[in-house]
């Protein structure tokens, strides 16, 4: 069982038909993601990293090729609520409190009242926002809002967490802090995480596996298995090992650009 990958893409192609002709967003993408992996997708804009994440989520349908999530098609997985999705913006409903926002998916999925409040408390604790459930989104900072949106994605216990540049709009200090917290959260929850970013240090710091992608057509140019230990203090970013991996990511990105 353990050898069955949680997410597997085989020969994935996706072409958008636009007025300026077809755009090859994804070309021949093959990838296996195992249970408990933390996988980062990194590359310049237009490399298809977000599109690939959306394919996994069943928000985008590939033109050809196969993709399976928990042994199902992405659409089935979506309907089975197999994953939580975190967008670049927190996207909290301004008319709901933080607790109300986290209850949103639970209401839609029909959880019981008592179960809901227990879950809200638990995920708020996970993202270090205990006591904020009665606050409205505008009363929170950008970083806190994004943490609340992660809590919302965790609330219904999907074992996959898909994150599309969740910290892209935040400043670097907040970002470092959230990265550290995200690793702790990942260690505590054992989730499989797909994480889109365009920051090399972020990708190297967080991931067990780094997928380097390049644009036009969007494709995978390198897959790097991280040799960093699971326990990662922020200072690890100064270690030679970290710098070596970052160098390899940078080379991968540069090689991708040589094709243009």
């Amino acid at each position: 069982m353990t050898q069955n990958p949680t997410i597997e893409a085989k020969g994935l192609h996706l072409t958008f038909e636009t007025n300026d002709g077809p755009v090859h967003a994804l070309q021949d993408v093959n990838l296996k993601i195992n249970k408990g992996d933390f996988v980062s997708f990194i590359g310049p804009s237009g490399c298809g990293k977000t599109t690939f994440l959306r394919c996994i989520a069943g928000l985008e349908a590939p033109t050809s090729g196969e993709i399976s999530v928990n042994g199902m098609t992405p659409d089935e997985a979506r309907r089975a609520r197999a994953y939580g999705y975190v967008f670049q913006a927190a996207g909290l409903y301004p008319w709901r409190t933080i607790g109300g926002n986290i209850r949103l998916p639970l209401e839609i999925m029909g959880f019981s009242k008592s179960d809901m409040s227990e879950r809200v408390d638990r995920v708020l604790d996970l993202v270090d926002l205990s006591g904020f459930d009665k606050k409205f989104p505008w009363q929170l900072s950008g970083g806190m809002q994004q943490r609340a949106s992660i809590a919302r994605a965790l609330a219904f216990d999907a074992d996959i967490l898909l994150m599309d540049e969740p910290f892209g709009a935040l400043d670097e200090i907040v970002r470092d802090h959230l990265n550290e917290q995200l690793l702790q959260l990942w260690a505590r929850t054992q989730k499989t995480i797909g994480f889109v970013t365009h920051s090399i240090p972020e990708a190297v710091y967080l991931s067990t596996k780094i997928v380097v992608m390049s644009p036009r057509p969007g494709r995978i140019s390198d897959v790097i298995e991280s040799t960093l230990p699971k326990e990662r203090p922020l200072e690890i970013r100064d270690s030679p090992e970290f710098i070596a991996i970052a160098q390899r990511v940078r080379d991968g990105l540069r090689a991708g650009h040589a094709h243009v």
């Binding site: 994953y83 008319w95 839609i108 505008w138």
Partner: protein, 306 residues
């Protein structure tokens, strides 16, 4: 409370323009009357005075100026005449009296509110249909727009007559016209509001595999609330206008519209003006009421007024 000063400034400016305008507007009438009462007026015939502008005539006969403010049938009633008439007909009469503006106000207000309720309900239902059905989007929206290009003044008597022929009298025909004017801003605002959630918010609901009905109640409807209130404010004043217009051409015996018409037909402009101001105050009160509800609702929803 900081807005009090600018508001008062504007009111003072309007009053000033009004007070100044009364003199040239009424001076010819006043001169005729004064001459009949034995006063000396220059030039000394009515026909000769017609050649002179109101301003010049007033400057030549400054003793006429105070008289322009108290004429019985002025072209332009002075502010104190209108306010005296309003005071008299709003507070000075029993509200059941046919001469009470409160009575006429209620006659207009009742169909306004009923029409507004019908129009809002219809507008919201149409907007929901338009947002969820492509067919309705393509078919209903153009007709809604066309409906508003027909002058209501031409349409109102037809509606009254047709409904009258069908045996429908009283408050309902006026409400139909009020609803006809008020449903449109609600449709436009609600379509915009129900479509206001962006791609990301809709995608988020898709990741929960939310159905359309849940999406409507959880996302689209709450998102549209600020738009709804903007529409309601336009809708309720349009409703009032619709009711007044419905009272004009149909020989209605009561209501602001009837009051304005009576004043016009029997040469009692003060009456018309009093009804006009009473209608304006009613509209302001209605819009103010919706603003209050808006403020309360949005605050409860944790949204601050923009």
């Amino acid at each position: 409370m900081k807005s009090i000063l600018p508001v008062l400034t504007v009111i003072a400016a309007v009053l000033l323009i009004w007070i100044v305008a009364v003199v040239p507007m009424n001076v010819h009438l006043t001169a005729d009357q004064a001459q009949r009462d034995g006063a000396v007026v220059m030039p000394d015939t009515s026909i000769a005075r017609k050649e002179v502008s109101g301003v010049a005539l007033a400057l030549e006969n400054p003793h006429l100026i105070p008289l322009t403010y108290v004429g019985k049938r002025p072209n332009l009633p002075s502010p104190h005449q209108v306010s005296a008439e309003m005071f008299n007909t709003i507070l000075g009469k029993k509200i059941t009296s046919k001469r009470s503006l409160v009575y006429h106000g209620w006659v207009t207000l009742a169909p306004t509110l009923l029409g507004f309720a019908i129009g809002t309900l219809l507008g919201v239902l149409l907007a929901v249909g338009i947002v969820f059905s492509r067919v309705m989007d393509k078919s209903v929206m153009p007709w809604a727009i066309v409906s508003q290009t027909i002058p209501i003044l031409a349409l109102a008597p037809m509606i009254i007559v047709v409904l009258g022929a069908a045996g429908i009298h009283g408050i309902l025909p006026k409400s139909v016209i009020a609803a006809y004017l008020s449903f449109f801003p609600v449709v436009v605002g609600m379509v915009k509001g129900l479509r206001s959630p962006d791609h990301m918010q809709l995608d988020l609901l898709r990741t929960y595999s939310t159905n359309n009905i849940q999406g409507f109640w959880k996302l689209r409807l709450p998102s549209s609330t600020p738009y709804l209130f903007a529409s309601l404010k336009i809708g309720i004043s349009a409703s009032l206008i619709g009711t007044i217009v419905a009272e004009l051409p149909t020989g209605a015996k009561a209501g602001f519209g009837a009051r304005m018409l009576v004043g016009d037909q029997y040469g009692q402009p003060i009456l018309s003006w009093a009804a006009l101001f009473a209608a304006a105050l009613t509209a302001a009160a209605l819009v103010g009421m919706i603003s209050l509800i808006e403020r309360g609702t949005l605050r409860k929803m944790g949204m601050k007024l923009a």
